[in-house]
């Protein structure tokens, strides 16, 4: 049996109320909210956050054979982004690949994993942007998902892959030249004429391949950036139309490349054993996947559910949203911008910088962040073992709000964090409202992009309130 072993979604902390867009611009916006990646998040960091939850949901010690990463909004071109996720998750897989460019790449990565061999972690992430006032800006959302695909011998399969089908056609519906921050859109009625027959064809063949009829589907996920056809095609899917699930667009928005992964994860977190889940994705063609949940899903519970993350969201103003996406250039503190990081120093400290691994003195147990060679207790030399700390929570010993330090979004909130089981690090906090912060508050770690200099992103860990 091959299928999904674990699934995870990541929804960033901030929510933009769409009605604030028209209050600001006089037009645009809409109802509901969309998720907003923080200024220090990108598709790579969000991919790490989803990957951490997926590993937590997989059997203890699970290691995939490969890591595949797909996004429309890569942090780097010419350099693989999956290697950063691979390092942050401390994976042992020999292969880490990017599937680039289009939203469909994420769906294609999932398809390739399901029909291939070995275990694969398929990570998808997106930061959806658009011109101020545009539909893409309002209806988009930011987030990520990580699906672990494999066979029974890799771990209990919670959703067996029954089969699927695809259809492909060349037509111009949405497009973006590399480097641009917004996509162009053709008149949507034209796209509808193209997508509808492609979707119907793939749907019919996909169900046949899976050996189920439309009446047997318990959960139907319809995904795609063409909102009109996503709505209209449901009526053409026979008796399955009653099974259509919430696609999270009213709360999270359409997370593009990550939408199939995120919505499928949300469905799996609520599904009962023996239920059939069908996915129809419309992106430059159509892709259908059919799964049946297994008995293993009965005991399956996500360490961090999509529903919980949606509920935790906190508002952000439209002005700050524009500044975070670099649509508005805002005056920062008058401090020198940081220098680019060193490739060779970063390589030497790879375990600490990317995976947040400290060192623990074998004789005294003293934990060192960053890792040290000589112990601060007892002075033993080179008698340390690696101590992975990224999943360890801590307590705030003291903190301060720094109004003059360089930050892409001042002020910086800094805390001295004491980790459970030992170890201390003065570390920047994120995803919080500083007014509510208190000494003694609990925090957890999150992988972030601290700054970018000369085109090199500086990734490291921050702490956020434990949720």
């Amino acid at each position: 049996m091959r299928g999904i072993i674990a699934a995870a979604g990541y929804v960033p902390y901030r929510r933009l109320d769409r009605s604030t867009i028209s209050q600001f611009l006089g037009s645009g916006g809409g109802r509901g909210t969309r998720s907003v990646a923080s200024y220090d998040e990108d598709t790579t960091t969000m991919g790490v956050d989803a990957g951490r939850v997926a590993l937590a949901n997989a059997p203890a010690g699970f290691q995939p054979d490969a890591l595949w990463f797909a996004t429309v909004s890569p942090a780097y071109l010419d350099k693989t982004n999956a290697t950063t996720i691979h390092a942050a998750l401390r994976l042992e897989a020999d292969l880490a690949l990017d599937f680039g460019g289009a939203a469909r790449s994420a769906v294609g990565a999932l398809r390739t994993a399901l029909v291939g061999g070995g275990s694969v972690m398929v990570v998808s992430a997106d930061v959806r942007t658009g011109q101020p006032g545009s539909g893409d800006e309002a209806l988009g959302g930011d987030g990520s998902a990580a699906l672990i695909v494999g066979d029974d011998e890799d771990g209990p399969v919670i959703a067996e892959y029954l089969g699927g089908a695809s259809a492909t056609e060349e037509f111009i519906d949405r497009w973006r030249v590399p480097g641009d921050s917004a996509s162009g859109l053709w008149e949507e009625r034209f796209g509808e004429t193209q997508y509808t027959p492609l979707g119907q064809s793939a749907w019919k063949r996909g169900l046949e391949a899976a050996g189920v009829g439309p009446e047997g589907i318990d959960h139907l996920v319809v995904s795609g950036l063409h909102a009109r056809v996503v709505r209209s095609i449901v009526g053409r899917l026979g008796e399955a139309k009653g099974a259509v699930v919430d696609d999270l667009t009213s709360t999270v928005g359409n997370v593009g490349a990550a939408q199939v992964g995120l919505v499928l994860t949300d469905v799996l977190e609520k599904a009962e054993p023996g239920q059939v889940i069908a996915v129809l994705s419309l992106a430059d063609g159509a892709d259908v996947f059919v799964f049946r949940t297994t008995e293993a899903i009965r005991g399956y519970q996500s360490a961090r559910s999509v529903a919980d993350q949606i509920a935790w969201g906190a508002p952000i103003g439209y002005g700050k949203f524009l500044a975070w996406r670099n649509t508005l250039s805002v005056e920062g503190p008058r401090r020198p911008a940081p220098s680019r990081i060193s490739a060779s120093v970063s390589a030497r400290s790879r375990e600490y910088k990317y995976a947040f691994v400290g060192s623990r003195d074998r004789s005294t147990g003293a934990l060192h962040l960053p890792p040290a060679r000589i112990s601060r207790e007892g002075d033993a030399l080179d008698d340390m073992e690696p101590s992975p700390m990224s999943e360890i929570q801590g307590t705030i010993a003291t903190f301060t709000v720094d109004r003059i330090a360089y930050s892409p979004s001042p002020p910086i909130v800094f805390a001295v964090v004491d980790f459970d089981g030992g170890g201390r690090l003065p570390v920047e906090l994120c995803d919080l409202d500083a007014d509510a912060l208190q000494i003694g508050d609990r925090v957890e770690l999150t992988f972030r992009r601290l700054f970018t200099a000369e085109g090199i992103h500086n990734y490291f860990w921050k702490a956020r309130p434990a949720r």
Partner: protein
């Protein structure tokens, strides 16, 4: 093994100190020439009469060329030193040891910083920082010292309003003193109301809790004590020079609570041992300390053993450390009034001890305790939990 010091072996026979200011019309070279010439005049020497030079700067130059070129020295040894905010004191320490060893008869220390050419407010960080992996802490010094305020208040039961009053008194006192010093960057008294209503910088620290930023240079000429009266009738003798570089364990040690600076305590204990001091509060007249941020000065009072741990806040409010108090602190106005040209500040503190011990302070700034005949300087560079510290003691009599 042991720290023996060089008590009474070396004397300062001349010093120079520029005005500390935003010297838009002067570069580091101009400030070096200004400070050097004042010291030459005070000691009745010229540049050829100095056998060796120590040059302290954190970010305004590199190598001995930094003073050999502007002063046009010929075939002189110049040692460039850097030890963060203790750079100026460190330059003098090197010069003093050089003459104590007998290697040279006369040596000079020059400290300088030209910080206002960078285009940023505040100290914009040391240039030439080594390439890094980008994981180092990025917050400012103000934020690091801001963490001491709630920590101290909580540990010693001082409420927020009282802590605010204590810090404001330190700032008020230093500006009061600086208003009586023509070399200071800020020569105006500041009311506690103004201090408490100034803009927030980090945590509860406000603009007036932070040191200013100025350009400046200072210098000192030293020789062996037995030669001192050849150059001046008022030499100032080295009683102790102590330096401690911390191991930064406060960053990683969950036991560190941000209410003490053990590097300073260790340097002070060593200095008192070198000078034979058993009761610093009674034996020493005054101290210049590193008031980079007001909570630093508060905690330094305890590290220097001028009062019991946890009681400095009461002594501050009682006026103990005021200009007319029992133990004046920063009678020249401190970093609060002088700003902080990093390489020059340590020697600027020594300049105030030299001035007071020679009886050359103007009447409105002369401290009555100076009859004790000993004065102290304290420097620190770095942050709570990871700092370098220097403590020096000076006297106007041998023995």
């Amino acid at each position: 093994m042991g720290s023996h010091g060089i008590k009474d072996q070396v004397a300062i026979v001349g010093m120079g100190c520029t005005e500390f200011a935003e010297h838009w019309d002067k570069g580091a070279d101009d400030l070096i020439i200004w400070a050097a010439n004042e010291a030459f005049d005070a000691a009745g020497l010229d540049k050829d009469g100095i056998d060796a030079y120590w040059y302290g700067t954190a970010m305004s130059g590199s190598s001995g060329l930094g003073i050999a070129r502007p002063l046009h020295l010929t075939n002189k040894p110049v040692t460039r030193v850097e030890n963060m905010c203790a750079t100026g004191g460190e330059a003098l320490r090197g010069a003093a040891y050089a003459v104590a060893s007998g290697a040279y008869d006369v040596a000079m220390a020059i400290g300088v910083e030209k910080v206002k050419d960078g285009g940023y407010q505040g100290l914009a960080g040391a240039a030439g920082r080594p390439p890094s992996d980008g994981t180092e802490r990025t917050l400012t010094a103000a934020a690091m010292y801001a963490m001491c305020v709630p920590a101290y208040g909580k540990k010693f039961g001082v409420d927020d309003a009282t802590m605010r009053e204590v810090l404001a008194h330190i700032s008020w006192k230093n500006h009061f003193n600086g208003a009586r010093n023509h070399r200071a960057q800020f020569k105006k008294e500041v009311t506690t109301e103004t201090i408490c209503n100034s803009p927030l910088m980090a945590g509860t620290l406000r603009v007036f809790d932070c040191s200013g930023v100025a350009d400046g240079a200072t210098s000192a000429i030293v020789c062996r004590a037995e030669d001192a009266y050849k150059y001046t009738d008022k030499p100032v003798f080295v009683k102790a020079l102590s330096f401690v570089a911390g191991n930064a364990s406060g960053n990683a040690d969950p036991d560190y609570d941000y209410t003490y600076f053990e590097e300073i305590g260790a340097a002070a204990a060593d200095a008192y041992g070198q000078a034979g001091i058993t009761n610093p509060r009674a034996q020493i007249a005054m101290s210049e300390v590193h008031d980079c941020f007001t909570p630093a000065e508060l905690i330094i009072m305890e590290e220097l053993q001028l009062c019991e741990r946890g009681t400095a806040w009461k002594e501050v409010l009682a006026g103990t450390f005021d200009l007319d108090g029992d133990f004046p602190i920063n009678p020249d106005g401190g970093l609060k009034s002088f700003g902080h040209p990093v390489g020059a500040s340590g020697l600027r503190k020594i300049f105030e001890c030299y001035t007071q011990l020679r009886g050359e302070a103007p009447p409105e700034r002369t401290i009555k305790t100076i009859e004790r005949g000993l004065a102290m300087t304290q420097d620190l560079g770095g942050y709570p939990g990871e700092m370098v510290a220097m403590v020096s003691i000076w006297g106007n009599q041998l023995g």
